[in-house]
């Protein structure tokens, strides 16, 4: 439903500013051009999505996810103290983080939902707990090893070094996660239940 409003909003802003600035013919030409660009984008993404989904499946089965979860354990205990007494929560959480790290969005979501359910406070089942907020922050900061979709778009636009943005992407998402977590810790201190 949100997207319907976003779509209608974009169209009305376009129409109004085209009328205001006298860009009517450009606006009309943009309709078929944009639709065509959607298909072009889908085609330019197809190869990369196919390859990396295959590679993702392989990463799940070759033990890389398992290995990463082990590496994560100390950090996990710190950010999510409940994992010390709940091994199922620990495996769902580390699975979620590793899947995100390896770019396996489809695998990450079910594990993230499972972890959220296990983090529910039995006394206040409708309330977001502090650790839940941290899980959401980690998910929205998108710490990803290979941002393959962006790389594919860059290649389709003629870029010869699509992966040269990797260090910038890593540094950016790590800082976003760090600041988000710090903010969540501080907000959790002042923003109590009910």
């Amino acid at each position: 439903m949100v997207m319907s409003w976003v779509f209608a909003g974009i169209l009305s802003i376009s129409l109004l500013s085209a009328m205001y600035l006298g860009n009517g013919s450009a606006l009309a030409a943009a309709v078929p051009k944009g639709a065509q660009a959607g298909i072009t984008l889908a085609i330019s993404l197809a190869g990369s999505i196919c390859l990396w989904s295959g590679a993702g499946k392989l990463m799940e089965h070759c033990g890389l996810t398992h290995f990463l979860s082990k590496l994560l354990r100390p950090l996990l205990h710190r950010v999510f103290p409940d994992t010390k007494k709940d091994p199922l929560l620990a495996s769902a959480l580390s699975g979620n983080i590793c899947a995100n790290f390896l770019g396996l969005g489809n695998a990450a979501t079910p594990m993230g939902i499972q972890a959220t359910k296990r983090l529910t406070d039995p006394k206040h089942p409708n309330f977001a707990t502090d650790q839940m907020c941290r899980l959401i922050v980690l998910n929205t900061a998108s710490i990803q090893l290979i941002p393959s979709n962006v790389a594919a778009v860059r290649v389709s636009l003629g870029c010869t070094t699509p992966f040269d943005i990797l260090p910038a992407v890593w540094l950016t998402s790590l800082s976003a996660a760090a600041i988000g977590l710090l903010g969540a810790f501080l907000l959790g201190k002042v923003w109590r239940h009910d």
């Binding site: 997207m3 977001a128 959401i136 910038a168 988000g180």
Partner: protein
């Protein structure tokens, strides 16, 4: 260094799978097929949103928006041309991909704006979608400060995308 990362990763996971006596090639094929199914399911969204975004650009609204956002964005050193991407990124992943692609095409994929857009796309997520899916499935109604903290992470991401792009490609 980053040149070798992707080939080495691909070879590494193949070898690891072979060591575990997994049928590596079969896994690649099934995973790849799943990925293509996912792509087909998002094609309509990509077409609709790129139509809307291209109209927004052609109408001159993007230029107007950048103009209005310029004081705030300049203050943080973020290119005002990316204002539309910053606005739409937390709401919709496909729309952000559409906007980012359009930005890279308009300003050049290796330009400062194009690179900043790419880093923003690669290092942030669809915040509202993530919150609604995770909390919806777990039955959480009182989200407390989750949105605020997540948006703090997003804003840091947008700011750091500009900073790191300048740092690595100035």
């Amino acid at each position: 260094m980053t040149d070798y990362l992707v080939p080495i990763l691909l070879l590494g996971i193949c070898c690891a799978a072979l060591r575990k006596k997994e049928n590596a090639y079969d896994l690649l094929l099934t995973g790849g097929a799943d990925g293509l199914k996912l792509l087909v399911s998002i094609i309509p969204a990509l077409v609709m949103l790129l139509t809307a975004v291209t109209m927004l650009r052609a109408s001159g609204a993007v230029t107007l928006l950048s103009h209005f956002a310029a004081p705030l964005f300049d203050f943080f050193g973020i290119p005002p041309e990316t204002a539309i991407l910053v606005l739409i990124r937390p709401i919709s992943g496909s729309a952000a991909l559409a906007v980012g692609t359009e930005l890279m095409a308009t300003y050049g994929v290796d330009s400062q704006i194009g690179r900043t857009a790419a880093v923003m796309l690669g290092s942030t997520e669809t915040t509202f979608y993530t919150i609604s899916v995770y909390f919806g499935a777990a039955g959480i109604h009182k989200t407390r400060y989750t949105l605020l903290a997540a948006l703090m992470a997003d804003c840091t991401g947008f700011f750091m995308a500009t900073l790191t792009t300048r740092l690595f490609f100035a």
